[in-house]
Amino acid sequence: MAEKDTLESEKRRRAVSGQSVMFSSNEVRLSVFQWIVVLGLVGVFLYLVSVFWVGMEQFEAESDYRFPYQLSNDYWLYKSYCQRVCAGEKTVIIGDSVMWGQYVKRDQTLAHYLNELAGRDSFANLGIDGGHPAALCGLIKYYGGAISGKRVILHLNPLWMSSKKHDLQVSKEFRFNHPRLVPQFFPEIPCYRASISERMGIIIERNVPFLGWRRHLQLAYFKDENGIGRSLPEWAMAHPYDNPFRVFTSEIGDFAEELRYEPKPWTERSPTKLDLSWVELKTSLQWSLFQRLVKILQERKNSVLVVVGPLNEHMLNEKSLTSYREIKKNIEVFLKEKNVSYYFPTVLPSESYADVSHPLSEGYSFLAEQLFDNDVFRGSW
């Protein structure tokens, strides 16, 4: 006969349980020593992964190689790429999609044409798709440590100062490229609204290589059909019956070199002239972080040549052009003050631009020839 559910019986039950609380409903209870062993084993794993994975993963940065745009957010791999490139004597070219070659194939980029003119594989394309100056600064600072004691062509795309939005100074939140690379707290970026916890996580990831490696796994192996990196559970949802360990091959997946944008002149795309609302250099966030980037490269004993533009001036209206020329003058003043080698290429023929900043194949060829004809460039390289 079940005991009556009385207060007294409950009191007896409580008196027995009282302060003695059951530890858990499982046996996962380690002693202090066992926790030390666990942390040791985990530490060994983290160390081994960071040392051996780089060696295990085959990644041939052959001639005309450029970092796949599908892996643009894989900064751990970018760091590995930098290390491979900088092991040799190549000159590295750093910049955004202009240097990367958004409208051209990889054998039609600036790096390719420079190599052609040089007669050997002397230039490496370290451009990154969507790499605005704020992102490039973070990329080189945290992941480009191997770029030290090298010759560097650093491209400045003035388009990033052509509006408050490009300059990341609008207060309305919007998604911009590479938020994980920009300063998380200072200087404040008004349109960047990640939570404090997310920002802290990003800062920790920058300083803990293992976390970058984990992101690399997601981006390089557990990616979805759109190339977006996924966690294992997310990947499993898309591949419910597949073995997840099969995605790990010794080679990083083949990332197709299809052109995302049709390589045609801007006049066939959108022939209207632009009226750009340039941001003054002294208040520009992108410019201030570009300056920081130059300083970082110089502090790492790199020989830096800043190449500015050339923007498609054919596409600017009179007012924009005037403002742009003023900005170029101020950029030149800064570079002179800081003793930084620089070059302002002349504007390319109109038909060799795909849009306001990206050249087409012949545009890169012209640009390469200009560089080779330039005394500063020839003197250093």
């Binding site: 302060q19 380690l30 202090v32 084993l41 985990v42 916890s197 559970p233 019956y241």
Partner: protein, 458 residues
């Protein structure tokens, strides 16, 4: 801030550093109180007004009750005050909707405006904790806490503030009154509890939610197999999510030197519905037992009253979970089956002749079925799901084998734990290996979790 966030780690490290210095001084409870308020206010600063008001109101009511000859009146004032807060913030929308429904059924065109009140996180938990404490004081089971700081620390104790366990004053207040010693083993135990909880939440619950949400968001697009598996997955998801939170809360408390009650005891190994409720959300089910079921009479006044008391208790328990008919129906389902099974579960035949695994399968099957009403977005969705489970074909459900593997691993572990082979799990290498597996899985494969806990919505 969620336990699995970086900001919480930062907060806890700062809290703990000072806590270790003051844990044996009179500043201990003040520090707990301050940090608990920071923790709670991080969600929304105005929540602090509510918790402070509830704390001060109960403190005052208890002080007066102690001196008054009309103790029951002050008990009632405190309970009504707390329930009024709950009704206002949690149920006013539901009440308004149903009054409007009644109006339309009566042919009236007038409609009350919907209040649109935001439910403060953790409200249901700390109010119930407070109510339990006031009743215990009234009954003489616990001595009234005269120190307002300590009382405040009890109500707002941050490890359990948001989603329980609904601790009893005798346990928690008792420990707040003590000068605590924290041994290295306490810290190790805290880590053990926390890592298990973190694994359950991030590696398991947050994975299963991908499938459950996909199917339950549009149940009309799925057939029987997918609906069954999504329901099965939800049963495990809610268990991992809620027990994971409880484990993390207990782990944090343990590192602080506190022993917080166990809240889940392998509920899917229950051999009867009564057994299930002694294993699931133990703090809440025991609260309803002690403060609703037993005061109503329990099983002392005949069969009819027993069933009535079970019904009332389970319906209220369901209603506690949310302001929707689906939760009441969920509670009602449990009440019906519990009443039907009560006699059977206590029979010799059931106890001795029915194999344990059969009992467990039956209980699990029923509990999983009942989860449909708990999880479905609406009564209509629940109806669609139930109907389609029994009437549609068996198309490929695309349920990831990885999830099957993980659930099976956990179930097997629990089964072995409650079997005569438990000694295997006690083996040092097995325990260490399990923790290494959990940590590495979390670090390598789990997604960065920003998913809130399911029970925060209650």
């Amino acid at each position: 801030m969620l336990f699995q966030s970086w900001i919480f780690l930062f907060f806890f490290l700062l809290f703990y550093a000072v806590y270790l210095a003051v844990k044996r001084t009179r500043f201990k409870n003040a520090w707990i109180l301050i940090c608990s308020y920071i923790f709670y206010g991080w969600w929304e600063p105005w929540f602090l007004i509510l918790i402070a008001y509830s704390t001060l109101a109960d403190y005052a009511a208890l002080a007066i009750m102690e001196r008054s000859r009309r103790r029951k009146i002050w008990l009632s004032v405190s309970i009504i005050n707390n329930l009024a807060l709950l009704v206002f913030f949690k149920y006013s929308g539901f009440i308004t909707e149903n009054v409007n429904l009644l109006f339309s059924l009566l042919g009236m065109s007038y409609k009350l405006p919907l209040p649109g009140i935001f439910l403060p996180v953790g409200l249901s938990f700390y109010l119930f904790k407070s109510i339990g404490y006031v009743v215990d004081c009234y009954r003489g089971d616990v001595e009234r806490e005269k120190n307002i700081i300590r009382h405040g620390a009890f109500v707002s104790f941050f490890p359990i503030l948001l989603a329980g366990p609904v601790e009893r004053a005798k346990n928690l207040l008792g420990q707040l009154r003590e000068s605590l010693k924290i041994s290295w083993q306490d810290v190790a135990d805290g880590f053990s509890l926390f890592i298990v909880g973190l694994f359950k939440k991030v590696a398991l619950a947050d994975s299963l939610t991908l499938y459950v949400d996909k199917v339950y968001d549009t149940p009309g697009e799925y057939q029987s197999a997918a609906l069954i598996l999504a329901t099965f997955a939800f049963g495990w998801q809610i268990y991992f999510d809620f027990s994971g939170y409880s484990d993390m809360a207990r782990g944090i408390g343990r590192m602080m030197g506190f022993r917080i009650m166990l809240n889940f005891n392998n509920p899917y190994l229950a051999t009867g519905l009564g057994d299930f409720w002694r294993r699931w959300h133990i703090s809440l089910s025991s609260w309803f037992r002690d403060y609703v079921y037993i005061p109503l009479g329990g099983n002392r006044k005949g069969k009819f009253n027993t069933y009535r008391n079970i019904f009332v208790t389970m319906m209220l328990l369901g209603f506690w979970h949310g302001a929707a008919w689906a939760f009441i129906i969920w509670g009602g389902l449990h009440a019906v089956v519990q009443c039907l099974m009560r006699g059977l579960e206590r029979s010799r035949f059931y106890e001795e002749s029915v194999p344990t695994i059969i009992k467990q399968v039956f209980v699990f099957a029923f509990v999983t079925f009942a989860w449909i009403f708990f999880r479905a977005a609406s009564w209509d969705d629940a109806s669609v799901i139930v109907r389609r489970i029994f009437t549609t074909g068996v198309a490929n459900p695309n349920f990831p084998l990885l999830f099957v593997f993980l659930i099976f691993l956990v179930w097997l572990y629990q089964y072995v734990y409650e079997s005569r082979f438990r000694w295997i799990l006690r083996n040092s290498a097995v325990r260490t290996g399990a923790v290494v597996f959990m940590i590495l899985y979390l670090m390598v494969f789990a997604s960065s979790s920003n998913e809130a806990f399911i029970y925060l919505q209650f």
